[in-house]
Amino acid sequence: MAEHSGAGAGHGPIELYLTSVRAHLTGLPTRRRARVMAEITDHLYCAAADLTDDQAPDDMRAEAEAVRRFGAPDEVAAGWLAVHAGDLLRRAVWTWSCTLAAVAAATMATGAGPLLIGGLVNPAVTIALFVATQTACATAAVAACLVWLVRRSCPTHQDAVHVRRGCVVSAGALAAALVLRVGGVLTDHGGDHGLWLAGVATCAGIAGAGLVSTVRQLRRAVSLTAAIRSLLDYRPEAPRTRALGVAARLAAGRTPRSRRVALLVCLVATRVRDWQIVAATTALGTVAAAQLGAMRDGLTPSLAAHGSLRAGVLVAAVELASVPLAAATLLPALGWRLLWTDGIRPRRQPG
């Protein structure tokens, strides 16, 4: 999309200013950013044209004055990001709410029957799978409360992106669970395994998307070649690699290959986001939950045969533990910190 006319093209004050503003607007979606840049470009060239006639006889001085009057790039970008944060949050909440309503309706329509998939009979594994299901459900409930709580707040752009990612992950996981559930019901009634496979594919897709996004962020955030070179020389220069230098030093004395492996592990560990961990773990948990549904009926007779009261208490205790487990491991990725910082209240300086 053309963002400026031929007039003033090159590296004049306006072009330099536009480059700076564009860099500060990286939080906006591509299309919106292009529209914002088009508006700013048009404004600056109009202002420069007026100033050329009035107060600044030459083009460069007129452009410089137009840029000065428009405002500092970071402040201009902050205003746009502040508006976008509200849009982001509202869309995320609506998407999440619609998905939750669809899952609830479909669950009621298909009944509460178990998913007859798989052939695991080990009670310990069954309990583990059941915990995964409870964790996912508890997280979904808490996330629903959280997003409705913050939907009318005035978040910063980073907070809004944070919550949006959490909503997307949760909605995707619930959608996958729904597909698995429906597939299981159909399977139970003689249907094929197509929906079940679709659910597995959806979960794998969520995890894969998280992995791809992580790799892309790593490539943007750190020059891997430069990071490896500086750390192998034990002279980290960039702030981002300074922490990684500590880890590399721990591997000092080992082979160069092991140092590179340590570097890459630390690079991933320090750059992966909470929500990406959630994407992978929730997807795995959802797949496991599909197995669990088939095992609930299998579990009950086993419990009856092996002391149902003790096993029942154990299962209940594990279920209760799964709720704080959900809060501790998944809420940070869903924006829980907004409740304990001033992110949920109007901030003085957005962005």
Binding site: E3, A38, H43, R69, V83, P346
Partner: protein
């Protein structure tokens, strides 16, 4: 005006008078016909006799927010090889403007009465003797 944009404008040092009424001022300017962003700023400056000399970059987020709220709508045209966004009031925007005008009229009348009473007292002693 939502608190996010309010805080942003406050951080720029924009006076409370302008900040609190920016939406209404923009709607009033657009009531005269469709304009693009630069023209809105020019018109604000002209109508106020130079009194409202806004940081020019502040108007566009406000325009976007008004568009999000359905009070104004926009379209794109190409002028001199550049894309230009033209804004115009919607029906909701006209209603909102009427509401703003009425509210401002009430405020101005009330404030004027208070200031006028104080001026009289200063000139001739307490109004009640």
């Amino acid at each position: 005006m939502d608190n996010g944009l309010h805080s942003y404008l406050d951080s720029l040092g924009m006076s409370a008078d302008i900040r609190g009424h920016l939406d209404g001022l923009i709607l009033a300017v657009l009531a005269g016909g469709p304009l693009h962003g630069y023209a809105v700023i020019q018109e604000l400056r002209r109508r106020s006799g130079g009194e409202f000399d806004l940081p020019e970059g502040t108007v566009y987020p406000a325009l976007q927010r008004l568009a999000n709220g359905g009070l104004i709508e926009s379209s794109w045209v190409t002028v001199s090889g550049r894309r230009r966004r033209i804004y115009r009031l919607t029906t909701s925007g006209h209603a909102a403007l009427d509401h703003e005008r009425a509210a401002w009229r009430r405020f101005a009348d009330a404030a004027g009465a208070i200031f006028a009473g104080g001026l009289s007292a200063a000139e001739g002693g307490p109004a009640n003797g």
